[in-house]
Structure formats: C-alpha cells, structure tokens
C-alpha cells in the first residue's frame, strides 16, 4: 500500500526533521517506492540523498548505494548517524579485514549500505549480498558511468552485472550533472528501462560574476575587497594547498576581526575535522579550501563562494559554487581569473592519467612482483586506470604486449582529450560575452529559469557596488578554563 504524501511527510519529519519535501523529492520517492527503475537529476544542494534514504528506512530489505568517493560515503554515514539512524555503514577499501568481516557477517541488520563500485566486484561480497533481500540499488553520481562524463569510473559499467546477480531490484540512478547524452549512457549501461525524472539544475538564488584581473597581485586586491564588502559565511576555493594556506594567512592578517582558516587534504585528520565543524557552527567566517573540503558538508547559510583558482570542469564548478545558498537565500558566486590561470588545471589533467612511459612500465611488469613498486610510484587514479584497461583487454582475445600498450595509450589519450575539452568549455564560459547563467547551464538544459534575485554580471549585476551586510553575532569562546568547563557542562547556572 503506497503511503500518501502527508504520511510520507510525517516520516520525513520523524527521521530527518524536515516538515515538507523540497522540489522533486516527493516525485522521485514515489517512483522508487512503486518499484520503478528511475533516473533522476536534481540540482546540487537540493537534498538528493533524501530520495533514497527515506525509502530505505521505510522498506523491508537493504538499500545498497554505489558511491564513487570514500570521503563522500563516510560523510553520509556520519550525518545519518548524527540524526540517530544507526543501521548504516560504508563498505570501502579503507576497512581492515576484521572491520569488513564484521559488517559482512551482519549485513541483514543494516538498512543502508554504501559501497564503492570496486567492492561490488568481489566474489565474497556478491555472495553475501545475494543471501540478503535487497530492496533498492542506488547509483549515486551516476554520470560516472559515462566516458563523456567529467568523472568517468570504469567500474560503474559493471554495476549491471551486480544488479543481475542480486536479482534485479529497482534501481535509482542520481546525478546533479548529466547532459542528455550522459543520461542516455546511464540507461544504456545500467541496461534497464528507466523512468526519467529530470529537474532543471540551474540555481535560481545564485548570482554569477567573473572578475578578470591582470595578475595575482590584482587578484588578491579584488579578493580583499570582496571580503571587506561582504560579511557573510564565505568559501574560497584553491587548487594549490600552498596558495590556500598563504592566502588564508594573508586574509587573517589583513582582517584581524574575521575568523579565517584553511582546509586541505594535507592536514592531520583531527585538525581537518575541527576546522570543518567550526565552519558548520559559524565559528569561522571564511574558509580557504581545496576541493578536498566536505563533499558531504551541508552548511545552509553560505552566501559567498569565491574561486581563487579554476576547477577543471564546468560540472566541478557548478558543484562547488552550488554550496552557496542552500537555504534559498540570495547567494553569490565569484570567479577570480587572471590570464595564465588555465595552466594549472591543464597540468592537473596530465598528472591524472598515465603517460606512455608509465603505460610501458605497467604492461611490462604486470605479471611480475615489480608491479607493487610501480603502484607506490604512481597515483591511485593512474593505477586504477591502468589496471582496469589491462584487465578489460585480457578478457578479450589474447593480444601481444605491444598491442596492449598501444590500446591503453589510445585510451589514456582519449580521456585526456575529453578532460581537456571539458576544461576548454569552462574557459570558454569564463570569457563569454553574454549571460553567464544561460551559458553555464547550456549543455544541461534547454532553457533557464529566471533568477530569484540577480542573474549575473552581464545581465543586471555589478559586483563592485555590491555589499552583503549582515550583523553578525560573534560567538566568543572562553579562554579561561573554568568558564569553559561551566559552559560545556552547564554548571552553576541554577
């Protein structure tokens, strides 16, 4: 018996504390709960995960969520647990054998199990899953299945085998950034008929602006201006850890009254967690970060996202700028661009894929022990790429090492080309003489909806005259230990 919308809203409140659904959520949940294979796109920051978490909690069996990034899974599990939902876990390669075994031994006790695509290939895991009732298979970030996507993950293409193995439960494929051709790829590779629920992904409450500067010096100046004029929770994105730290310190010195901190993957985990939580609780005004910062972070009141460096794709930019204005308030995304900035992301693309020399080494070594050395020499993404393609080739008819090399080099070049093309698209957008909002979403939807506040610096917005003023209540932390203990444990306030 299908629940009514009102009944589902009671459940929504009970589990997540929201009184009503956001756009799209109800329609997707309804489709899923009617056991339909569903492909859904929703804009970033619109509560995609609720679309499977609520059905998971309301149904009998287990919901398996395939997710591309370990940090994303871990954050999701953490958030669910903080909401009091304990029957969740993440199966990933960071677990030691005992941890993995303890999860697998009591699989049927979980409601939601996050899993990396590589894990689904393991016989041991497939066997365990086969023995359970799986009510829903979720493919999160489903664009990873497509070679044309900005984050192609070959193992996503094998999800269909897993789906077959566990007895064809309903599938929900989710993405915030899927063009029409990518949507078609998703349906093709998941190999089922899917109901498409496509919501426009443009964010109506975000205003877009691009600031062209002569050099780094001018860029810094513009940054300081922006910070001075806009007293709101702010994120600043960098692609270099070093610059991230340096600019964070520079801001701190320039504005002693603002609380600013940096966050990147090179920090110790305890420090990272503290900074992330301080930002969540408004103890920090500004966070300087790399893309390592909180995939699962859902801070509703961020109103300014600045890109000090460019990401490498339009999709990444949409995702990062989309952290602004999640509560629906007017928010601003500003890109600071200096000529020559494109060099860095181009270098990143080169470094993410194996070059000819590395491919040669891999093919020559692959049957030998030396492969372990190579694995420690090159990055995880590179090694995953090499491993995937060589296994794929071996499954076909036997071929010589020479042929293998050539085919893998061709694959690598193909990915570089796709990635470079993505970057060119972003650069084109940066330089466009026209509506920034329209061209940003051009590849994803036919038309854009009107902006709720201002559109962009081409249409109706002048960043130089803009000021976000908000009286801020500063939270002062006690330095004195006795006061701090009293605050923490509410002692002496009878």
């Amino acid at each position: 018996m299908m629940k009514t919308k009102e009944e589902l809203e009671i459940d929504l409140y009970k589990y997540f504390g929201y009184k009503s659904f956001r756009e799209g959520q109800y329609e997707i949940i309804q489709s899923v709960m009617n056991d339909k294979h569903t492909l859904a796109t929703l804009p970033t920051g619109s509560g995609k995960s609720i679309c499977y978490q609520l059905p998971a909690l309301l149904s009998e069996g287990i919901t398996v969520v395939v997710s591309p990034l370990i940090s994303l899974m871990v954050d999701q599990v953490k958030l669910l647990k903080a909401n009091g939902l304990k029957q969740v876990t993440a199966l990933n390669s960071l677990m030691n054998p005992q941890q993995k075994k303890s999860v697998l031994d009591q699989l049927q006790n979980y409601k939601i199990i996050y899993c990396s695509p590589e894990m689904l290939q393991q016989e041991q895991i497939k066997t365990k899953f086969r023995a359970c009732e799986i009510s829903l298979l979720v493919v999160d970030e489903a664009h990873c299945i497509s070679q044309w996507g900005h984050e192609f993950r070959p193992d996503y293409m094998k999800i269909t085998n897993f789906h077959h193995d566990i007895g064809h439960p309903p599938i929900l494929a989710l993405s915030a950034t899927a063009t029409e051709s990518i949507q078609n790829d998703i349906i093709k590779y998941l190999n089922v008929d899917m109901k498409k629920i496509i919501y426009p992904m443009d964010r109506q409450n975000i205003t877009y602006a691009i600031e062209h500067t002569e050099d780094d010096l001018e860029k810094k100046e513009r940054l300081l201006n922006l910070i001075e004029n806009n007293e709101v929770p702010t994120m600043i994105y960098f692609s270099s850890k070093k610059v991230c730290e340096a600019v964070s310190r520079y801001i701190g010195e320039t504005f002693p009254n603002k609380n600013v901190a940096f966050y990147h993957g090179g920090m110790e985990s305890r420090e990272r967690l503290l900074i992330q939580q301080q930002f969540m609780f408004d103890q920090l005004d500004i966070i300087c970060c790399t893309s390592a910062f909180g995939m699962g972070v859902d801070k509703a009141n961020i109103r300014l996202v600045i890109h000090y460096h460019l990401p490498s794709t339009i999709e990444a930019y949409i995702q990062e700028s989309g952290r602004a204005g999640r509560n629906g308030d007017h928010a601003l995304s500003v890109v600071l661009f200096a000529e020559g900035d494109e060099a860095l992301p181009f270098r990143l693309i080169e470094s993410e894929l194996p070059d000819e020399q590395e491919i040669n080494k891999f093919v020559n070594l692959q049957e030998e022990l030396g492969i372990k050395d190579l694995q420690s020499e090159i990055s995880e993404t590179k090694f995953r790429f090499l491993e995937y393609h060589s296994t794929l080739l071996k499954q076909k008819s036997p071929i010589s090492k020479g042929e293998q090399k050539e085919l893998i080099i061709a694959q690598s070049n193909h990915r570089k080309k796709v990635k470079s093309q993505n970057l060119f698209n972003l650069l084109e957008w940066v330089h466009i003489d026209g509506c920034k909002r329209r061209s940003l979403y051009n590849g994803f939807q036919n038309d854009i909806r009107p902006a709720h506040f201002y559109c962009c610096d081409y249409c109706d917005f002048n960043i130089h005259k803009w000021k976000f003023k908000k009286p801020k209540q500063k939270v002062n932390q006690s330095i004195n230990w006795e006061d701090k203990l009293k605050e923490m444990f509410l002692i002496g306030e009878e």
Binding site: Q99, V475, M488
Partner: protein, 341 residues
C-alpha cells in the same frame, strides 16, 4: 615548549656517538632495537615517540636551520655542537614518552569525545557529529557512556568535577591551553594551527607543549586512581610491556625456555632479528636476565672497556676486547649500564 631547544638538548646527548637522524628516530618512536636501546643508553627515553607525525623533511630543515644559526656543525649526517650552553631539561620534566606513547593519543581522543558527548547531553541535544572519527575510540567511549546509562546527571557532574580538579593541578596556562581544545555543545575546539597563531608559537612548539601537558595529566590521573575514577577509565590497563609486537612473541618463547636457535626455527626469522629482540627485551623488561647470553666475566670486561673509552660506539669497544665477544653480547652488556645512569 620550544621545539628547537628540545632538539638541541637531544643533540647534545648523542653528540659524537650517533648521527643527528638518531634524534629524529627517537622523537618519531622508531620501533627498532637500536632506537629503543639508544633511548635508554642516552637517558632520553622520556622523549621517545613524543612526535610520531614529525616528517623527516621538517626535521632535516630544522637541523639545517640550527647549523645556519651556528649552533651546530654539520658533516654529512654527523654533527658537532658548537656552543654547549647548558640547557635545563626542566621544561620537559613532565614528558614520559617511553611509558605513555602507546596510549597517550588514545587517551586524549577519548577525552575529547567523552567531553563532547557529555556536554551535548548537558545541553539536552544528544545528536551531534563526533569530533573524533576513529571508530575504536567511538566504541570505547560508548562503552563508558553506557555504564552511566539513565544516569546522565551523574556523569555530567562527575566529568565536570574531575576535569575541574585535574585542571586545578595544572598551571593556569596549561589548563586554559587544554580546555581550549575541548569541543562542547556548539563550541568546536581550537586546532593546533589556531593555537599556534593565538600563542605566537610554532606548530611544533604547540605540539610539544601539548604532549607535555598530556603526559602531566596522565601522570596525575594514574597517580591518584581513586580521585579520578571516571578519567581513569580512559587510560588502558597495560600489563603488557612496551615491546614491539614481534619482540613480545620472542619474549614469550624465551619464557618457555626456547633457545635463540629454536626461536629462529619456529618463527622463521633471521638470527639478527632475534638478537635485536633480545636486546630490546633486555632494555625494557626490568627483571630480564642477560646471563644465558653473556657471562658475568664478559659483562665486567665489556663495562670496563666502555668506561675506559667513554664511548658507546660498538666498533671501538669491540676492538679493545680480547675474548672475541660478539656485537650482540656487547649490546646486551650495555643495557646493564642504563640502570647506572
């Protein structure tokens, strides 16, 4: 709490006997028989493993900096201390790395999480994101928390009063420094980077200050088990020795009267590895007798040479010995000199 001074202090201790990298291994807590033995030999075991996350490049750059400042002379990995201004070890009196290193971080992580959980409950908002990610720590704190189930008021008051008493035993500065790192309801603690900006100290200085205070706290709690009954639960009961796990296995066989050759066979290890273990055991286990491996006469001869030459260099010692004592025997005999320090 000056990290550079601390490194300098340690360099003076090993000067002429070891390379400057030995100080790095000591701070890092390298689990090699050599480093463990050195910790005893040079009377620096309180510094053992007090900075496990120290990066080699960072350490090397500090050494280069010290050489630039004219404090030391560098010759490859060897060095000489130029001006031996007498340095007091008093600031580091609280460090007890050798004894506490296996669980000091475990203790503090648990304290952070227990304080956060308790504070959240005191504020009646029991849902929160744990400030410590480590699942083991979470389980352990949960176990402690469950001991007080349905009795939240008791744990809130007890943790408050125990922390209050503990902080009173620290200096005002230390108590503030530690309490700033605690996370409570809607108040996330300070990170090391932020503390270093606030106190105008380097990140490393903050780390050392933290370790000193941490060890002081552990000492106070252990010292008076009765008065800190809740905080004492955060310190694991360790009847185990501070041995590497492999050395512990060897020790178990020795206790069953296996010979070195038999242990080699059952464990499928090289003789040098087993010998390393024996030296480690002799350094760490108080009532371990080296007699099966070194006769009393040999021991006297070796100790005599050591005091005559006033050196810890194995080669020099061996060259002076006449009865063809092995390096293994010399190292074992040297472990006996520790108690003389």
């Amino acid at each position: 709490m000056d990290f550079i001074k601390l490194v300098y202090t340690l360099l003076i201790k090993v000067e002429g006997q070891r390379s400057y990298r030995s100080v790095y291994h000591l701070l890092k807590g390298k689990k090699s028989a050599q480093t463990i033995q050195d910790a005893h030999l040079f009377g620096v075991k309180n510094y053992f493993a007090i900075y496990p996350k120290l990066h080699i490049d960072v350490f090397d750059s500090i050494i280069v900096e010290m050489s630039n400042q004219g404090l030391i002379n560098l010759e490859g990995t060897n060095f000489q201390v130029i001006s031996k201004t007498s340095i007091s070890e008093k600031p580091y009196a609280n460090l007890n790395g050798y004894e506490y290193h296996t669980y000091d971080e475990w203790f503090f992580s648990q304290l952070l999480l227990l304080a956060q959980a308790t504070s959240q409950h005191a504020h009646q908002s029991p849902r929160f994101i744990p400030i410590v990610d480590d699942i083991q720590v979470q389980h352990s704190v949960k176990r402690i928390w469950n001991m007080y189930k349905n009795n939240e008021k008791v744990i809130i008051e007890q943790l408050y009063s125990e922390l209050h008493r503990l902080f009173e035993l620290l200096t005002q500065e230390e108590a503030n420094f530690i309490s700033m790192q605690l996370t409570g309801n809607k108040h996330i603690g300070w990170s090391f980077t932020q503390l270093s900006e606030y106190y105008h100290l380097s990140y490393h200085d903050i780390h050392i200050w933290y370790k000193q205070t941490l060890h002081k706290m552990i000492h106070l709690i252990k010292d008076s088990n009765q008065t800190f009954s809740l905080l004492a639960l955060l310190i694991p009961v360790t009847s185990e020795f501070n041995l590497t796990s492999s050395a512990r296995k060897t020790y178990n066989y020795l206790q069953k009267n296996y010979s070195i050759n038999q242990i080699m066979a059952v464990r499928n290890l090289k003789i040098s590895t087993i010998e390393d273990h024996v030296v480690e055991i002799a350094s760490s286990v108080d009532d371990f007798s080296i007699r099966p491996f070194v006769t009393e006469e040999m021991e006297q001869d070796i100790l005599a040479v050591i005091s005559k030459l006033n050196t810890r260099k194995l080669k020099e010692i061996k060259d002076q010995l006449t009865n063809n004592e092995s390096y293994f025997q010399i190292r074992l005999a040297m472990t006996c000199t520790n108690s003389l320090d």
